[in-house]
Symmetry: C2
Subunit: 192 residues, 2 copies
């Protein structure tokens, strides 16, 4: 049994920089490639790239064009398959509307991050997976670029996912690593 | 309880290209960053970057210099901590010798990849973890760039790690995603 009603979104605003200011980050080419491949492997319905900057939309569209219809489409068909699940949106509102139009209702939103508040919205991957499998609705996982999702995003989330931790204090994964690990944890049977 | 006697190595030769030829790939800057951070988070003792091309060694050394002692060291101390576990070697032989000099004996070698032969060397992350925890020796996980490790490397491995699979046919993760997922699977308690 697998989860067939989940989406992921990578937010480039509002996120923190290393000083704790809310900023807009630039879209990184490697995020498009790595995260779309992980999302496709583990069965996300769409991978939303979210930025309010329209110049960045044009840049991403150019990259998508290359791999979906240009030289890259023939050169690397598996990259094409991954890029087909990408959608480009200006903000979270647009993402939620898009999912509502696809699945009939707005998704429940799950925030991820290394430093989430310890409140009653916190869920382990295993318990969240069971809830998703039991639900008729859809679910949207949010990932932040930069130094992570701004508090205003975390504040509106329905759930918070237990942060990834290693055995020691050090805990500075790239967002590409975090997405990959979380999707693997959700997919795998008998997580707990 | 955590594993404290394992190492990872990223091989740029001998690996396949998409046509199945054995080639040497170029070191990707994002591999250095993402894989060192994941290795540091999950407690690998060293992350070996392996390429026979000496020009690539000079390039990697320049990048390491920036983050270990240059501007980057102050700018981003967590990146410095991750980069401190990186070692640069010309081939697998040198990696094994280095581990032998650190731990007293050559490591057992575990090959990873999406298309490994189905033979008696295959191990799940859980069973391999138990073996590593029970062993006084050290263990080296090999990851291939390009289209994966060449057969000559897979042939000399002591173990093969069960490939990562999602729910469907599609299975084209970046090596950065694969390393992250495998380290998370090894670290986590009660995997099976």
């Amino acid at each position: 049994m697998y989860i067939d009603n989940f989406y992921i979104a990578l937010l480039h605003y509002p996120v923190y920089n290393r000083k704790g200011d809310v900023v807009t980050t630039a879209v990184a080419n490697v995020d498009i490639h790595d995260i779309s491949r992980a999302a496709k492997t583990f069965g996300a319905r769409h991978f939303y790239i979210v930025t309010p900057v329209l110049e960045q939309h044009r840049l991403v569209e150019k990259i998508l064009e290359h791999w979906l219809r240009g030289f890259g489409a023939d050169f690397n068909p598996s990259r094409k398959a991954a890029f087909q699940i990408i959608r480009l949106k200006k903000n979270l509102e647009e993402v939620q509307d898009d999912i509502a139009s696809l699945s009939g209702a707005r998704p429940k939103v799950i925030a991820t991050g290394a430093n989430l508040p310890q409140d009653e919205r916190l869920r382990s991957p295993g318990s969240l997976k069971r809830e998703i499998l039991d639900s008729a609705g859809s679910f949207l996982f949010l990932f932040g670029t930069g130094w992570g999702l701004a508090d205003e995003v975390i504040g509106m989330a329905d759930y918070l996912l237990t942060p990834i931790r290693g055995p020691f204090e050090y805990n500075h994964l790239s967002v590409r690593s975090a997405v990959s690990i979380i999707l693997d944890r959700l997919w795998r049977e008998n997580f707990e």
